[in-house]
């Protein structure tokens, strides 16, 4: 399509472009620039080279937030894939009440993370919260949930007389509580994605597999799983990126200044937030931003590479 004036197309793009340049491209560049500056509430005090990065590598609290984030992502992502995949398998095809189920599973997705966090803080309340009341009804001792700094493996193995320490103790029960909420909130979205993926698989493939004598598991392994791999891959990447960015859950459920009991729920974005806006340590926060960006980029590229051979695009 030819246009009459040469200026026209740019005028159409201009409003979006201005916003994208000023409020996306510029601050993204700013994160890189800020990471090599000594920048605080008074503005820039000059170039400091890689000093912010050196400080980051030597900062125990930073590494604590990285460890917590790794625990969190490893705890959330597999379950945020397996549970929705299972639900989607149950929901596919023509099923009575399908849209009702789908609506219910989807409710937490559209609910704000803040409201969800306020509600779950009450559910996990150690003194009178419903979760402990339910546990008491089946004879389980009340747990501290969001206030429990001890690691989950430490708690599970204590009755056997085993006491793992440090990283081996695993994520604190407080962090596990956040994982539960995060999984609960993401199930609906991932289920809908898997459902769309499942329903795009042509029915003839199932018939062919059954004619070849494949059982239920065989059909899943040789037809469903490979045909679903682009969806699985997409869900994997999106869930990983999203869990890396968890903020509201930490902020509301294990409120500032702590980042949870003994800092055990301090995730990297929360730590970045503390540095940038409690201390106005913008230069240091920028170095953490760049670290986060690079990690996510590398993870996405690595997943793409690993999946590249296995993902089966039609």
């Amino acid at each position: 399509m030819r246009h009459q004036g040469k200026l026209h197309p740019y005028l159409y793009i201009l409003p979006a472009l201005l916003i994208v340049l000023l409020f996306r491209a510029l601050p993204i560049a700013g994160a890189f620039a800020g990471s090599v500056l000594d920048y605080d509430i008074g503005g820039s005090h000059g170039f400091v080279g890689l000093a912010n990065y050196a400080r980051m590598l030597a900062d125990g609290r930073f590494w604590n937030s990285v460890t917590n984030t790794v625990f969190f992502v490893l705890g959330v992502v597999p379950l945020a894939i397996v549970i929705p995949l299972f639900l989607a398998m149950l929901l596919r095809g023509r099923l009575a009440g399908k849209s009702v189920y789908r609506t219910i599973y989807f409710l937490p997705v559209v609910t704000s993370a803040v409201a969800v966090s306020v509600v779950w803080t009450w559910l996990f309340n150690p003194e009178a919260g419903p979760v402990n009341r339910v546990l008491a009804a089946v004879g389980i001792e009340p747990l501290l949930w969001l206030r429990e700094p001890r690691g989950i493996f430490e708690l599970l193995l204590a009755p056997l007389g085993v006491h793992p320490q440090g990283t081996l103790a695993g994520p604190s029960l407080a962090l596990v509580s956040l994982m539960i909420v995060s999984i609960w909130k993401s199930i609906g979205y991932n289920t809908v994605l898997f459902l769309a993926g499942l329903e795009s698989i042509p029915g003839e493939l199932y018939e062919a597999a059954r004619l070849d004598g494949a059982g239920r598991w065989g059909v899943f392994r040789h037809v469903t799983w490979p045909m679903l791999s682009p969806t699985t891959y997409y869900v994997l990447i999106m869930s990983t990126i999203a869990s890396f960015q968890t903020f509201a859950l930490v902020y509301v459920m294990t409120p500032p200044p702590g980042g949870g009991p003994l800092g055990t729920t301090n995730l990297i974005v929360f730590y970045l937030f503390q540095k940038a806006f409690d201390r106005f340590d913008i230069g240091y926060a920028s170095a953490i931003s760049v670290f986060l960006f690079v990690v996510l980029l590398v993870l996405t590229l690595a997943q793409r590479r690993l999946a590249g051979r296995r993902v089966h695009y039609q």
Partner: protein, 259 residues
């Protein structure tokens, strides 16, 4: 029955059990909100802090943001989809690449930019940076590209200008994608938390999510009032969702396939 699925009854038992787990937090939220005071809890929560103000702020910020997104996205997507010009693919790539960078990465520098503009603690800071949305541009562009060119030729023969063609022909043919864009941005804007928390300080500018989080900090033990507040803060969006659930679910499913 499809191969690989369970028998009908077993399937429903599992799905109902799952539904209960998903619903329980909401049920407990409402049940707790009605304990002791009953509906009076709602009245008290509402009047303890300026929830009315927070609601108005959120409604204003959300509607202006979505309006801005619609204007900037339709114009840009239209140009990207139907016009030829130098730098088109470079600009489009620039747009897409900013979408790949997560918001927390550029949060601190954004604050610096906003303070240079003297926009910290203003509605401008809450609205303007979000009036362009690359994902919306992408969705609209994909759709605009599917419209046949013959439509444009016929319209220009009738003396229809470019902008007029967009308004009179393209947009009416894009209702479903526009609905998707509106729903995504309403949900995103209504629920956004980190950004308004960072760029505003005064109570008059608090949006609902920020207001609720402060309310939570102030009243950390009064769960009846907290659950009442959580209920009325989530109700508008839940209602919108239940009324438009088909469209929303389809939109989310589409977002996955398109990417």
């Amino acid at each position: 029955m499809k191969p690989g699925s369970l028998s009908g009854a077993g399937q429903h038992v599992l799905l109902v059990a799952g539904s209960l787990v998903m619903m329980l937090p909401f049920i407990w939220m409402i049940a707790t909100s009605l304990e002791q005071g009953g509906f009076a809890n709602y009245v008290e929560a509402w009047s303890r802090v300026a929830f009315g103000r927070y609601f108005l702020n959120t409604i204003m910020v959300t509607s202006l943001t979505v309006l801005g997104v619609l204007i900037t996205s339709c114009l840009a997507a239209y140009a990207f989809a139907t016009m030829e010009f130098r730098g088109r693919s470079v600009l489009f790539l620039l747009f897409l690449s900013t979408m790949m960078v997560p918001q927390p990465v550029y949060l601190a520098p954004s604050y610096v930019i906003l303070s240079r503009l003297r926009w910290i603690d203003t509605y401008m800071a809450l609205i303007v940076p979000w009036t362009a949305n690359v994902f919306s541009i992408f969705l609209l562009r994909q759709h605009f590209m599917t419209l046949p060119r013959s439509l444009y030729e016929a319209a220009t023969l009738d003396g229809c200008g470019r902008l007029e063609y967009l308004w009179r022909v393209v947009l009416p043919l894009s209702r479903s994608v526009i609905a998707t864009v509106i729903l995504f941005n309403v949900i995103g804007s209504w629920n956004s938390f980190m950004w308004p928390l960072v760029v505003t300080h005064s109570e008059e500018l608090r949006v609902l999510q920020v207001g609720l989080s402060y309310f939570n900090q102030e009243l950390s033990s009064n769960y009846q009032l907290l659950m009442a507040a959580s209920t009325f803060c989530t109700l508008p969006l839940l209602l919108m969702f239940v009324l438009t659930q088909k469209q929303i679910v389809a939109s989310y499913a589409r977002s996955g396939i398109k990417s």
